[in-house]
Structures are given as structure tokens and as C-alpha cells.
């Protein structure tokens, strides 16, 4: 069984995660690799770890998609805000129509920006906010519910997938000490 060694000072390193190990240990205390296990056991461990890493990469991609969806929503509301402004700029109550759009844009931007740090919080918040916006629009003019329904379904889909991924990412990180 060949043990990896640190080229700098010759100390033994785990074959899987390369943290320092004690030669008396049966398992690496950082990642659980069976240091003194059979080649079969070590192979199985490595392939499980690879599967976990692939899963992690997949979940992270879904989180990025969800964050991008939030950025996209920010852009949509900036556009609505600008359109409303130009349509109503001579009205007295122009601010009442334009401000909500820009507030929403800022909120979605912030939520998208913090998704990397606090994925579940930002995605659940963004999803709920979007649903409330849709419902309120439907209340004031029911016809708008159908307009762009295709895009709305896609947005909701990405956000829900992101929420599920956020929970899974949390679990895998804690279980396996993956970055």
C-alpha cells in the first residue's frame, strides 16, 4: 500500500484529501478514507467521493441558474420601471407607478447577489416575492396572469429547483466535508 508523502517534509498524507495523517490511524480523520483498508475498499471510497463531487457540481450549477433567474427578474423590473416612467412622466403620480418597479429591481438584485452566501434564504425569499407580485398583478388585472405564462413557469421552475438544490448542498457539505 503506497502512502502519499508531503514532498516538503516527508510527513504522511491521506491519498484522498491530502491532509496530514498519523501512520497509526485506520481512517483519515478529515475525509474518512480507509488508510489501512483493502484496495477494494479504497477504490469504493474514491468512487463514492467522485459521485458526491459530481452531485455537488450539479447542485451548484442549479444554484447559479436560480441566482441568474433573480438577476433576470431584476432586469425585467428595471425595464418595466423605465417604460412606466416614459409613459407617465408628465403625470403627477408618476412616482407611485415607477418606484415599486425600482424597489423590486433592487430587492431581486440583492437577493441574487447574496444567493452564493445564503442560498436557501435568498431563493425562498425571491420565490415568495415573485409569487406575491404575480398574485397582486392578477388581482388588479386578471388578464396579465396569462401573458408571458411560458416565461413565468420557467422562472418558477428555476427557483424551485434552486431551493431543492440548496437543501441538498447543505447536507452533502456537512456529511462529506466537501468545499
Amino acid at each position: 500500500m503506497d502512502i502519499t508523502t508531503n514532498p516538503a517534509d516527508g510527513t504522511a498524507l491521506c491519498n484522498s484529501c491530502f491532509t496530514k495523517i498519523d501512520l497509526n490511524d485506520q481512517f483519515c480523520n478529515n475525509c474518512g478514507y480507509p488508510l489501512k483498508g483493502t484496495e477494494e475498499e479504497q477504490r469504493i471510497f474514491q468512487s463514492t467521493r467522485v459521485v458526491n463531487e459530481i452531485d455537488m457540481a450539479d447542485y451548484k450549477k442549479k444554484l447559479t441558474n436560480a441566482a441568474n433567474t433573480l438577476y433576470y427578474l431584476c432586469g425585467i423590473f428595471v425595464v418595466y420601471g423605465l417604460i412606466t416612467f416614459f409613459l407617465k412622466k408628465d403625470d403627477d403620480d408618476v412616482l407611485a407607478y415607477v418606484l415599486p418597479n425600482f424597489i423590486l429591481a433592487i430587492v431581486f438584485l440583492a437577493l441574487g447577489g447574496y444567493t452564493k452566501k445564503k442560498p436557501l434564504a435568498c431563493l425562498i425569499s425571491g420565490f415568495s416575492l415573485y409569487i406575491i407580485v404575480l398574485v397582486l398583478n392578477a388581482v388588479s388585472s386578471p388578464a396579465t396572469l396569462i401573458q408571458g405564462i411560458f416565461v413565468k413557469v420557467i422562472i418558477i421552475g428555476f427557483l424551485v429547483r434552486g431551493i431543492k438544490s440548496a437543501i441538498e448542498v447543505d447536507r452533502i457539505k456537512k456529511e462529506n466535508n466537501l468545499a
Binding site: D22, D25, Q26, F27, C28, N29, N30, C31, G32, P34, D92, D93, L95, A96, L99, P100, I103, L104, V107, K118, L120, A121, I124, S125, S128, L129, I132, V135, L136, V139, S140, I163, K164, I167, E168, D170, R171, K174, E175, N176, N177
Partner: protein
């Protein structure tokens, strides 16, 4: 404070492995002897968390529906307000009681401190003063409107008492029970405490259906959430919320 005997038997930086019991260094993620992961997330956890999320979503949807109905003309008037508040109060109690064994802990008030209570109430009153003037300014500037809470109740007998009950007492009690009680507890089972506070705060803020008010609703809710987590009781929050809302009423009644 060290128990000398304990220290001789068990070095303080080691803890038993959860599977084989051998002593391993604290914070090691895996046991050196048997390889067991020291943190196990059961496979069922994902579907359990999903179930909790759907349950929380159901609670939120009910509150949202009640709030949205207020936009329709048929639902104006005192009788609807009483109905709406009753539904939301009942829902908060029902969902809270669903996991009574675990949730009842935060109904206790173990670390009661009159100074703390006074401190929180003072902060509440000060905060409302700031909010009151900024919101009035915003209403005038953006909507050219002067909003009054009391005008709705003025035409009824005991209007002042109604105002205080429906603006200060009931929201303080039942919104805390529902959001810092049920919702925060449930979210804490899905994710860590900090994210649970963020989520419950944001959801509480947006259900008031006022984008302009978010600038004070979000910090308000975050503060309430953090108090609840730190003091492990909803009661400081209830009194904070009550003082905050009461001060708003008093601006009009006095």
C-alpha cells in the same frame, strides 16, 4: 471549575466516536479507528425538510390569501376585519400547536429581566417615532396621501379601543406566534438559525403587501427574529411589537 477526576479520565479535547466509542479529537469529521462520519444526515432528511417547507408554505399561503382579499370591495368593513384577524390568529395557533412538544419551549420566559423588557420597549417606541415620520413623508411625496389608521374605526362605538385591539394587541400576539413562533421554528429545522431568521423576516415583511414599507419592515422583522433566537422566547418580541404598534396608534389618538 475543572473537575480534576474528569480531566484525568477524559482529556478535554477528545470525545467518543458516535459509532465505535473510541476517543477521537473533537471536531474531527471522521473517526480515525472506524471511519464513521461524525455528522450523519439521514437520507430521509431531504423529504422531511421538503414536507416541512410545504407545511410552512401552506401556512403562508393562508395568511397571504386573507391579506389579498382585503383588496376586494366585498371585504371592506369591520366585520371582515374581525373575520380576517380571527382566521389568521386561528391559523397561527393551529400550526404552532401542530408540533406542540417542541414549539412550547419558546412560550416559556426563562430569562425574564425587567430591564431588558424596558430596554426593548424603549427601542420600540423610538423606532416607531422614526418610522412614523418617514412613512408619513413618503406617503405624502409618493402618493400625495395622508394615511390615517384611526379613521377606519372612528365611526364605530369604542373606536379607540378597537383601534388598539386590532392594531396593537392582536398583531403583536398572533403575528409573533405565527412568524417568530411557528415559521421560525419550522425553518430552523430546515436550515441554520441565521438563515431561518432571514427567511421568516423577509416573508413577514412582504406579506404586509407594501413595497415602500420594506425599508422598515425588514429591519423590524430581523430584530424580532434575532431577539427570539437569542432570548429563546417570543415574549420580548410580543411586547416589542405591541409597543411599536401602540405608539403608531397613539400618534393619532393623542
Amino acid at each position: 471549575m475543572h473537575n480534576l477526576i474528569t480531566e484525568l479520565n477524559e482529556p478535554s479535547d477528545k470525545t467518543p466516536c458516535i459509532q465505535c466509542g473510541d476517543l477521537i479529537t473533537i471536531n474531527n469529521r471522521f473517526c480515525n479507528y472506524c471511519g464513521a462520519a461524525q455528522y450523519i444526515a439521514p437520507r430521509e432528511a431531504f423529504s422531511y425538510k421538503l414536507m416541512l417547507m410545504k407545511q410552512a408554505g401552506f401556512y403562508y399561503a393562508i395568511d397571504l390569501l386573507v391579506c389579498i382579499l382585503a383588496f376586494f370591495d366585498t371585504f371592506h368593513g369591520l366585520s371582515w376585519l374581525i373575520c380576517a384577524d380571527a382566521i389568521m390568529a386561528f391559523t397561527a395557533v393551529a400550526f404552532f400547536a401542530y408540533d406542540w412538544q417542541r414549539n412550547k419551549e419558546i412560550l416559556k420566559w426563562k430569562s425574564f429581566s425587567f430591564i431588558k423588557l424596558l430596554g426593548f420597549c424603549t427601542i420600540a417606541v423610538t423606532a416607531q417615532v422614526l418610522v412614523h415620520y418617514s412613512v408619513n413623508w413618503l406617503n405624502l411625496t409618493v402618493y400625495s396621501k395622508d394615511v390615517s389608521y384611526y379613521s377606519f374605526y372612528a365611526s364605530y362605538g369604542y373606536g379607540k379601543i378597537l383601534l388598539i385591539m386590532f392594531t396593537a394587541v392582536f398583531p403583536a400576539l398572533f403575528e409573533e406566534l405565527g412568524y417568530r413562533g411557528y415559521l421560525l421554528q419550522t425553518l430552523s429545522k430546515i436550515t441554520d438559525d441565521q438563515q431561518a431568521v432571514y427567511i421568516s423576516a423577509f416573508l413577514f415583511a412582504i406579506i404586509h403587501l407594501s413595497l415602500l414599507s420594506l425599508f422598515w419592515l425588514i429591519p423590524f422583522a430581523l430584530f424580532l427574529g434575532f431577539i427570539r433566537v437569542r432570548e429563546k422566547t417570543i415574549w420580548y418580541g410580543v411586547f416589542f411589537h405591541f409597543c411599536f404598534n401602540l405608539t403608531a396608534c397613539l400618534f393619532e389618538l393623542l
